[in-house]
Amino acid sequence: MIEVTNISKSFGDTQILFDIDAKFTEGQVNLIIGASGQGKSVLTKCIVGLHEVDEGGAVLYDGRDFSAMNRSERIEIRKEIGMLFQGSALFDSLTVEENVAFPLKMFTDMSNEEMRERANFCLNRVDIIDKNELLPAECSGGMQKRIAIARAIAMNPKYLFCDEPNSGLDPKTSILIDNLIKEITYEYNMTTVVITHDMNSVMEIGDHIIFINQGRKWWQGNNKEIIRTDNKQVVEFVYASSFMKNLREKLING
């Protein structure tokens, strides 16, 4: 479980996050949703340590205070983290297989054969077959996301972060990625945190949802509760289109 307490973050005079408390439970897909520029990505970067939180805030990974740790102590926790970036962030100069094997090469004593086996296992898990020698630039957007998921799970992480995993993907591929994240979370009992704008993802995989608005935690619940919530900001965000409004009314009215 990941627990964040009193997280605030300022850049110079501009405060982005205000006293956020949240718990992300293991074995569940935890979503952070909200409009653009409300602080979702900053919150995630604070949780994984790419940004330092302001004084008074804490990030606990299974009770271990990550924000109070020095660099070498953080490295031990980071080995337990997998992250899928918005743009996939695959290493351009490495092949698909080398990308997936990269964390294994850096942090394990596996032989080349063992690394290749593990990389192939992870690639098969995300349905990437016979593409090992391709470079990331030769793969489609959806394939790149799946390769990035394979890299993220290569070290058997306890915590998985996904930053807008569906951005730039067609609806069919988005559903595929969502299902993959969900399956992997349940299969490996990971604590998964997904930042998303995609309402389909909210409804499909949102075991636990946090809505961030103006840098504050505005609402939390799950994908069933979000249908019936009367929180004005959540309703305006989630049911922005007339199609979604009608859908909500139908769902509420049975």
Partner: protein, 248 residues
């Protein structure tokens, strides 16, 4: 950011760069890969430039030697001295600052804006050390070899230019090349020492600019330009300081 903040952050970066690599085997592989891509790949360009510059140095020296009191072998002597003291170490380093510097700044800068550096950090890899230490060490340790090749080819260029234009004979040129060598061989150590410093500068400064790139492709281009300008200025300043310290 002002200049002093940049300098402070640069030295802060160097502290992280020179930390123990996560895995020696990976570091060694990357080091030799960088020797190949940065140093060995620069040899054809350096060779081409050196032959022609050597020719120009000797022809200009010959053209400006109007006094009959100066012996003809002075042309070879001046070509050798100019090559060892300035042309090969400084001018070649300045040219490579453009070639290598823009390459490193844009490579690291692109990794920054496409979140590849964040991906390294999340995995627990010291991204500064992983990306920059092999490049800096490869260039610092192996650039002197390139400069020695440049020196030799410069002298060959001077010989070809002078002899084919009939300005001096091979024997006279060789006498000039060998003249006062016993007294002047210290110049070679001086040149190689400063080449190592230049090698350090032309990789670490672009690495710095690339690493702290913010934004998108436009900013990567800006970082690349800033890196080349800053490393060229740093080479010239370092050249002056080293000459004052070692030679004077």
């Amino acid at each position: 950011m002002n200049l002093f903040e940049h300098i402070g952050r640069y030295f802060g970066m160097l502290k992280s760069v020179f930390s123990r690599p996560e895995k020696g085997k990976v570091f060694r592989k990357m080091f030799f890969s960088e020797v190949d891509s940065i140093v060995i790949n620069s040899i054809p360009l350096v060779a081409f430039l050196s032959v022609f510059m050597g020719g120009v140095i000797s022809l200009q020296t010959a053209a400006n030697m109007g006094s009959p009191l100066l012996p003809e072998y002075t042309i070879g002597y001046i070509t050798r001295s100019s090559t060892i003291l300035e042309f090969s170490p400084t001018i070649i380093s300045l040219i490579l600052a453009g070639k290598i510097g823009s390459n490193i700044a844009s490579e690291v800068g692109t990794m920054r804006v496409t979140e590849q550096i964040d991906a390294l950090e999340i995995m627990g890899v010291n991204s500064m050390s992983y990306l920059m230490m092999p490049k800096i060490l490869a260039t610092t340790l192996f650039l002197p070899f390139v400069v020695v090749i440049s020196m030799a080819l410069c002298l060959v260029g001077g010989w070809i230019a002078g002899v084919q234009s009939g300005l001096y004979s091979t024997e006279t040129y060789l006498i000039g090349i060998k003249a006062f060598w016993y007294e002047d061989q210290f110049y070679l150590y001086y040149a190689l020492c400063k080449t190592m410093i230049f090698g350090f500068l032309i990789t670490s400064i672009p690495g710095y600019f690339g690493y702290y790139t913010k934004g998108g492709s436009l900013e990567v281009g800006r970082s690349s330009t800033s890196a080349v300008v800053a490393s060229s200025v740093a080479i010239l300043v370092a050249n002056y300081i080293l000459t004052q310290l070692i030679l004077v």
